[in-house]
């Protein structure tokens, strides 16, 4: 079958390439050829191993030997020792920093256990449109066990003991929420799944519904059994057509199998689920606004209490949980509360899914145990900052969260630590920024979002955020004053204190946290009229250095607005009053004669 006896995998990620991994590939190939082994052993370039810190990394299969910090000159030794003599090259093996033991295979390296997939356990593993595959992976067994072996109070007890907290942002203990709803006496109760994922950059709920819809259905039924509801509703935004489609297929398959409907698994428990579509308003992720939207009213939040668990959908007791929270439930029932609570930090158990985005190499969906540090997430799993730039900040918690900086990289991520650091967990968006990002513009970007999404009910949020945005706009145009910075702080605090719902109470967070962490950047804008990151167009100027300009006319020919003048072979000049700062001349110039000032 296999023509090659062995494969040598060399990491071709950005980090390892920067440390000459291509040269390693070439040297390995050359050495194999000189020993006439090129037909037996094949050298391959792979994607990023994520272990950039110890790069370049080289792995030999089938024996799975893992070498770290390999230099191009090591190629000869790898071939001579490992391939010819068949023994691992000791000096290149990874040393476990805890006990200094040398580790031969990837399985023994702690790094590869940094991600633990619980909520995403089936995503990318099963066919989401085939219920059999879900059943084959212990699907619906948790529901069956609950219905036949446990009383509702016992199930709630398991969830409480597991320490699971709401994954939608607030972090309210899930077991407690179920208990409160279960204690309400009413002829009709509801289970609602909040799939109104609205944070810019967060897409874990969508991915779970697209990749493993049955886990959410199963958990909703378990919740229904616990709180005494026989009706479930999934509130999902209409912008998620694929998730909706897969959810519908899953619902019909579950009904066909009798796992939804009347008398589930012969236990006398009835449960059915309907889908409700949202139009994609951010505020509808808030429980009360979500319920109003489902009832057909305007999606506006109302005062709590009464909490939905007392009076929710149609005035009936309603339990609202987020998609990711539900996806954890079946595993907790199957594997036990103790197993789940052994993962994570003291007050935040289990794992959290993050949508890693922005200027990192490995953009994607990751699931990590609570208590992991930002450094591990960004530099080990995320593979570091793109193009070798410097890390500046990471935004967590979306438009309600804040920015964390270099000094926060080593704090363990959990609900409480993030709040202490001036940000929040939120639904798990994580946007990484590098030295080229202007923090004033970032704050402005998030405010634009809240401005669009504010429902307009409370004056401080509706008008206050608009004014905040205007001040920020002024600053990015170089027209701000130091007084404006004070005004920003004052207004932000007023909006926080006087808004009704979470949206208004948290909307100034990006402004406050950037002001706190990057005050010098704000000051540079207002005092010197400069944008240190070179992002604010109105504050930068393109100039031609007369000593470097050769008069090649390339910039003159490419300028879209005719702002550049000059004769062939003589120095050119940019007319600042016409220039629109598009940067084309800067990119086109072959002599680095154009600079940003």
């Amino acid at each position: 079958m296999a023509e090659n006896k062995m494969h040598i995998l060399v990491c071709g990620g950005t980090g390892c390439r920067a440390s000459q991994s291509e040269q390693i590939v070439n040297n390995l190939k050359a050495e194999l050829e000189s020993q006439n082994l090129n037909n037996d052993v094949r050298v391959l370039t792979t994607g990023c191993f994520g272990f950039c810190e110890k790069g370049p990394v080289v792995k030999v299969v089938p024996d799975n030997t893992f070498y770290t910090e390999v230099k191009p000159s090591d190629a000869v030794d790898i071939v001579n020792e490992h391939i010819v003599k068949g023994r691992p090259l000791q000096r290149l093996l990874y040393k476990n920093p805890k006990n200094n033991y040398k580790v031969t295979s990837t399985a023994g390296i702690d790094f590869y256990k940094k991600q633990v997939r619980i909520a995403l356990r089936n995503c990318g593993f099963v066919d989401p449109e085939n219920i059999d595959e879900y059943i084959g992976r212990d699907g619906y067994e948790a529901l069956g066990t609950c219905l036949s072996d446990y009383s509702p109070a016992e199930v709630i007890d398991i969830i409480k003991k597991s320490g699971l907290r709401g994954r939608g942002g607030g972090g309210f203990p899930t077991g407690l929420k179920w208990e409160i709803t279960s204690k309400e006496k009413n002829d009709q109760k509801y289970v609602v799944c909040n799939a109104d994922e609205g944070d810019p950059g967060a897409f874990m709920d969508r991915s779970i519904l697209e990749g493993d819809p049955h886990s959410v259905i199963e958990a909703m039924a378990i919740c229904g059994y616990c709180i005494g509801a026989n009706k479930g509703l999934v509130y999902i935004r209409a912008e998620y057509p694929l998730a909706i489609n897969r959810l519908k297929i899953a619902l019909s398959q579950a009904s066909e199998y009798g796992l939804l409907g009347n008398d589930i698994m012969g236990t006398g428990f009835d449960f059915e689920i309907e889908i409700r579509y949202g139009a994609g308003a951010f505020v509808c992720g808030e429980e009360t606004a979500l319920i109003h939207s489902m009832e057909g009213s305007r999606g506006e939040p109302t005062f709590k209490p009464p909490f939905p668990s007392v009076s929710g959908y149609l005035g009936k007791p309603t339990n609202v949980n987020n998609v990711e929270t539900f996806a954890n439930i079946p595993v907790i029932i199957n594997k036990g509360a103790e197993w789940f609570s052994s993962i994570g930090s003291e007050n935040s158990k289990g794992t959290k899914v993050f949508a890693l985005a922005g200027k990192v190499n490995n953009v994607g969906l990751i699931e990590v145990p609570m208590g992991i540090t930002l450094r591990e997430v960004i530099f080990d799993i995320g593979g570091g900052i793109r193009n070798g730039k410097k890390f500046k900040a990471v935004q967590t918690g979306g438009p309600s969260g804040g920015c964390l900086t270099e000094k926060d990289l080593d704090i363990p991520i959990d609900y409480d630590n993030l709040i202490k650091a001036g940000s929040m967990m939120g639904s798990g968006g994580m946007i990484v920024m590098d030295e080229d990002d202007c923090m004033v513009s970032i704050a402005k970007f998030y405010l634009e979002f809240t401005l669009d999404e504010s429902c307009g009910k409370c004056t401080p949020c509706r008008i206050g955020n608009k004014r905040l945005h205007e001040i920020l706009d002024k600053i990015t145009k170089g027209k701000g004053t130091e007084q404006d910075l004070e005004r920003l702080k004052l207004l932000s605090n007023v909006i926080k204190d006087t808004s009704l719902c979470g949206l208004g109470q948290t909307s100034p967070n990006p402004v406050l946290s950037t002001l706190l962490n990057f005050e010098d950047e704000y000051l540079a804008h207002v005092r010197e009229g400069k944008c240190p990151a070179g992002q604010c167009k109105d504050l930068l100027k393109y100039e031609i250095d007369p000593d470097l300009c050769t008069g090649c006319t390339l910039c003159y020919r490419n300028c879209p607005v005719g702002a550049i003048s000059g004769e062939k072979k003589s120095v050119h000049y940019i007319d600042q009053s016409i220039c629109i700062k598009c940067g084309v001349c800067f990119q086109k110039c072959k002599f680095k004669a154009i600079s940003i000032v």
């Binding site: 079958m1 995998l9 994607g47 991600q115 089936n122 990318g124 085939n130 991915s207 697209e210």
Partner: protein
């Protein structure tokens, strides 16, 4: 098919697992290969659908017995379209940035000849079973 009790469900589970087992260890053990294509929004946007149908056609055309199925997001959104190739008896291999050319190469070399191809993405997480 109605599931009437927990015991019933476990029976179905055993059957289903048997089916998957058969897939892997059946009579044609060394011929049946499984290919999973990540088909969440990110994958589809990057052309996973085309890759999936291309692979089905190409495998058919070559008479290679393989099961191509869709699955959810594997988390490697930066490297879509992503596919996982499971050759029985070997550990699964994930490929990123799969174009039609790459798919062809994977079929020609990995699936037919058992050779690995450039573009492998190492798995960086552990599962609940570990």
């Amino acid at each position: 098919m109605k599931v009437k009790s927990l015991a019933d469900l476990k029976k179905i589970k055993a059957e289903v697992q048997e089916k998957i087992k058969l897939r892997e260890q059946g009579e044609n053990a060394d011929k049946i290969v499984q290919i999973k294509v990540a088909m969440a929004t990110c994958g589809i946007a990057s052309g996973a659908k085309e890759i999936m149908s291309y692979m089905i056609e190409e495998l058919d055309f070559r008479g290679v017995d393989a099961i191509v199925s869709q699955t959810g997001c594997m988390g490697y959104c930066y490297a879509e379209p992503t596919i996982e190739v499971i050759v029985p008896g070997q550990s699964p291999v994930i490929y990123g940035f799969v174009s039609k050319e790459k798919a062809k190469e994977i079929i020609e070399k990995h699936i037919v000849k058992g050779e690995l191809v450039d573009g492998i993405i190492p798995v960086t997480f552990k599962t609940i079973d570990e």
